[in-house]
Amino acid sequence: MAAGQASGCVFTTGVPASMNVIDIEALSLTFETGDGPVQALSNIDLKIAKGDFVSFIGPSGCGKTTLLRVIADLEQPTGGSISVNGTTPELARLDRAYGYVFQAPALYPWRTIARNVALPLEIMSLTRAQQEERIARNLALVNLTGFEKKYPWQLSGGMQQRASIARALAVEPDLLLMDEPFGALDEIVRDHLNEQLLQLWAKTKKTVVFVTHSIPEAVYLSTKIVVMSPRPGRIHDIVESDLPRGPRPLDIRETPEFLKLAQRVRDGLRAGHSYDD
């Protein structure tokens, strides 16, 4: 569903469908370090519409994770403007407008899988019955039904990351922020989780912002690919995908359309990267 088609329809967060979920203008961020200021982000302009699946791709140090953390109000920009759900990132965070999935599963080792998913729900003071319902529903979404009573160390890395996705979904946000969630997993597991994530996205119609350094992953998942380059971190290119929206078979990665998109992303990464070292 493209932005604008459902204009007039008001969602629970109070954002009309015609409005951008994320609106970033001339944003910059400079870290003060012992060695002097380091410009992490420079002159970022980006709009993300409701229902989009947007990937940030770029080499290490291009600021893709920092940009995601700015959206999540985990870092403060030093210039420009940003709105999330039509408000400031801080108000969006206080409103629990997004779910955040980190590079590591970040499950609490003393909690079972079910209690880990319950963590945000306890903080939101949901009733026990509401918690149980959301735990069951979201564990089912990531195919972890039956693992409720297991502790994290009893699960594989891929299952742990799926549990952390269930935990982010349990907040029932319209926006899902994912920071290289599959970066530490092997290729086979990663393919499988990518496929599942697309199905999940199609089913739940959430807006997803996804950080990765894998070209196939970015092209396979995204409706829009933001190619970034380092020193200072900036947007080099924004690639709109012409692949069909919704669940895509893994085979799509062999098609000429896919390869053409991947080539454009690769060219962008190469052009943006300074090989002076």
Partner: protein
């Protein structure tokens, strides 16, 4: 290779070391008490054969160094051989010391935890309290204990509490330092997660910092319980206390009853070992209840 047996891996090495120690002890007792036996022989105008001298140096009433079997006999006599209410029973004295130890340990643990919570949440407390906490442990406790007990006695506080307070003074320190580290142990990613949920400080404490600090707490408690016992014994020394293992040590040295001193020493060591063991068991139980992965034996 057969599968490793408990007997060969644990019992045999421990018993070997013990046997060497006991043998060394007997030899040492022989050398230290030998001159006393010779002096006794001269006094009574007797001539002992070498083997007689040996046996007598392991059976003196007030030896410089009592032989192991003398200490064991005294331990047996003063525990199993007497009613526990007897003023000469080591069980009675052990209980007196233990009750002060446990009270002091409880207070010290609470104080240590409260200080750590304050230090972790308030920068002002971190800056102002931490140097004093460290300085408190540089004061020699043997010097402080008598003054504290005399002062407390003067204002009408006597009995269990002054001794317990010395245990508290010693045991709060490892707990405070360990818990500051423990409460700060959550990784940045776990704290960020709480921030994305808009959790308040209290929720971050109860759901993250406190459970994360449990292994640190138990490491501190093991040090704290042993040091609490030392505190209680030190607290029994200066006032010429009537009861407790410290009092037994003191009386033994007043009257040259070396066997009694060694028996009290062993009782104290046994008590300390038992207390550390109990803390270790509770740690295993708590970690099990918290779903920790069972530890595999190395090797």
């Amino acid at each position: 290779m057969t599968k490793p047996s408990f007997l060969r891996e644990s019992v045999v090495p421990v018993l070997t070391v013990l046997a060497v120690l006991v043998a060394f002890w007997y030899v040492a007792a022989l050398f230290m008490n030998h001159s006393m036996v010779v002096a006794e022989a001269q006094l009574k105008g007797l001539a002992f054969t070498p083997s007689e001298t040996w046996l007598r140096s392991w059976a003196l009433d007030k030896p410089l160094l009592p032989a192991p079997h003398q200490v064991i006999a005294e331990l047996w006599r003063s525990t199993a051989g007497l009613s526990v209410t007897s003023k000469r029973s080591l069980v009675y004295h052990g209980w007196v010391t233990l009750s002060a130890t446990l009270l002091g340990f409880l207070l010290g643990t609470l104080l240590g935890i409260l200080l750590a919570i304050g230090i972790v949440h308030q920068k002002v407390m971190d800056k102002s309290l931490m140097p004093w906490i460290i300085a408190s442990q540089t004061v020699p406790i043997l010097a402080v204990a008598p003054m504290l007990i005399v002062v407390l006695n003067a204002i009408g506080i006597s009995g269990l509490l002054p001794k317990a307070l010395i245990s508290t003074y010693l045991s709060f320190f490892p707990v405070a330092v360990g818990m500051v580290k423990g409460l700060r142990s959550p990784e940045a990613i776990h704290l960020d997660l709480m921030r994305t949920y808009n959790a308040d400080d209290f929720q971050v404490f109860t759901k993250l910092r406190w459970p994360a600090s449990v292994p640190f707490l138990f490491a501190s408690l093991k040090v704290g319980i042993a040091i609490s016992l030392i505190g209680a014994i030190v607290g029994e020394l200066p006032t010429g206390a009537i009861a407790g293992l410290g009092a037994r040590l003191l009386f033994g040295s007043y009257y040259g009853q070396t066997i009694q001193i060694w028996a009290a020493l062993f009782a104290a060591a046994f008590l300390a070992g038992l207390l550390v063991l109990v803390v270790g068991w509770s740690e295993r139980l708590v970690m099990h209840l918290m779903g920790a992965r069972p530890e595999r034996r190395a090797g």
